[in-house]
Symmetry: C2
Subunit: 328 residues, 2 copies
Amino acid sequence: MATISDVAKLAKVSVATVSRFLNDSGYVGTKSRESIENAIKELNYVPSEVARSLSTKQSDIIGLIIPDIKNPFFPELARAVEDTAFEYGYTVILCNSDENAMKEKHYLEKLTKKYVAGIILTSIIEQENHWQNVKLPIVALDRPIDSKVATVTTNNQKGAELATSYLLECGAKNLLCISGPKNMTSSQTRIEGFKAALHRNGVDAHIIESPYDFEIAEKILYDYLKANPSIDGIFACSDASAIGALKAAHRLKLRIPEDIQIVGFDGIQVGNVVTPSLTTVAQNIYLLGQTAAELLIKQIEGQKLAQESICIDPELIIRETTRKERSE
Amino acid sequence: MATISDVAKLAKVSVATVSRFLNDSGYVGTKSRESIENAIKELNYVPSEVARSLSTKQSDIIGLIIPDIKNPFFPELARAVEDTAFEYGYTVILCNSDENAMKEKHYLEKLTKKYVAGIILTSIIEQENHWQNVKLPIVALDRPIDSKVATVTTNNQKGAELATSYLLECGAKNLLCISGPKNMTSSQTRIEGFKAALHRNGVDAHIIESPYDFEIAEKILYDYLKANPSIDGIFACSDASAIGALKAAHRLKLRIPEDIQIVGFDGIQVGNVVTPSLTTVAQNIYLLGQTAAELLIKQIEGQKLAQESICIDPELIIRETTRKERSE
C-alpha cells in the first residue's frame, strides 16, 4: 500500500507539504498541489491516521530568541528560520534579547508558558541557565549552551585558520587579530584558530578586543594602527570590526591591500558593498538557520535526531582587501 | 482615590508597565518594580478591576507581515515593532511575504484564524484585498492599502523634493532619477516630489527604473551612465539603488562628488559605511515601526485613535556624495 512518503517522492515535494495538503493546514503552492493530486491518483493513496496526526500538534509556533535583529548577521538567519518554519506549517515569534539576562529569561518564560512548541536560542549568557527550566524542545544556534542541547554552529576554528593562513600566504608579516567581546565562545574559538595558524608558521602577533560595531571598531583601530604602523595584516573576528578597520586605514591614508591587508569573518552583505570589497570568512548563515529550524521541528514532531550537534564549515571569500597574488 | 495613571506618573513608568506589574503578566525591570512598589505605598493605591482587565485580553501576539527581513530597511522596523510590543506586554510573529500575493493571503488567514490580536502589514499588493476579510485591528506600515485602514508612512514627496532641490543647489545640471518598481506607491510619490522640485527650477531630467537591489542597480546604472555621460546628479528612490549607482560610477572612473553627485533615500546603515559615504533622505525607520505598533495596540485595547493616518517627515543627511559648498 502506498504511503505518504511515496506520494511525496512521486510529487517531488516534502512529506510536510503532502501533510499540509491532506490536512488543509497551511500553504501549498498551485504547482505542488497539482503534483500531489496526480501522485495520489496514480498511487491510489488513502491517507492513514498517522499521516493525519502529523498536523494535530498543539502549537505550531516556534520562538526565536536572538540578541538583535539590527545586527546584520541576524536578518538572514531569521529569514532562514522563518522559511523553514513556513515550509513545515509553523510560524515564528521573533524576540530580541539585547544580550540582557533578564530579557532572555522573560522571553523563555513567556513563550514557554503560553504558546510555543519549541525554541531556537542564540544566547550570549553562558553563566545563566534559564533554559534548563524549559520543558520544550530547544536548539542552540550559533552559540552552544550545553552539551545536552542540540546545537548548530559554524566551524569557527577552521574559519580563523583559513583566514590567518591566507594572510600569511599573501605576504603579511605583522598580524593583528581583532577579537570580539570576551564572553563570546565563538570569538574565543576564532582567536584559537588564529593562534594555531600563526604557531604553525612561527609568527608572533597582536590581539585587541573590539565590540562587533562599525563605528566603535573604527575608533579603536584608528588609535591602534596609528601607534603600531608596522601592522600589515588584520584578521577581524567579525565583518563589522573588519569594516571599522578598513575605514580607520582609509583615514590614516594606508593603501589597502598594498600597505595593509584585511580579512573579516561572517560574510554579511555589506562586506561586498564597501570599497575595496572585503575578503572574508563567510558563514553559511542561511544554512545555519535552516538546520536549526529543521532540528527543532524534528524534536517537536517526536523524531529522533541522528546528530545532536551540527558544525557547518565556513568558506573563504577572496575579494579586494587582500593581495591577489601570493608573495614568495 | 488614586488611579493606575497616578501610580504610573509617580513611578515614572508607563501605565502598561504598572499593569504588567500588577498582573505579573510580563517583564518589569528591577528599577521600575521598586518605583512602582514605592508609588503604590505612597498613594495607598488599590488595584481596580479595570486596571486588572488591561491584561485579560485574549491574545497578546501581534502579526508583522513584511516583504523580506533581509531587505536592510526592515530589521530596524521589526526591531521597533518588537520593542514597542515588549513594552506593552505583547510578542511579535514575523512573516516574510516576498511580495507574493499567495503568501500574504496565507499569513493573513493563518494569523487571523489562530492566534493574533492584530496585524501590521507592509503590503505591495494593492490590487489585492485579502486584508478586507480580517476582522481584527490592522495597521498599514510604509505602504497605504485603504483610506479606512490606519496608516503610518514617511512623507515621501517632501523627502524627494528635499533631495532634488539640494542636488540643484549643489550645482547639478543634468539630473537622473532612479525610480523603484512601478507598483510601489512610495516610489511613485518620490518621483512626483522629484518632478515638482525640477518644475520649480525649470530643469528637465531622465527617469529610469531599477529594483531596490545593489547589484542589479549597479548593472543598470553602469550601462545608463556610460551611454549618458552628461548626467552629473542622481536622485535614487532607495539607498540600495544609490549604492549601486555609486559602484557603477567607480567602475566608470567618475569622481564622486566632483563628476557626479548622488543622493539616496531610506537612511539604512550601509549608506554610512560605503566610500564616499552616501548623502540620503533618511526615513525615521524606528519611529515608523514604533508608531505603527502603538496605533495597533491602541486599537486592540479598544482606545479611539486621534489620527487614523500618520505621516512622518524624513530628514536630509548630508555626507560625502554631494558637494559641500553650494555652487553659484
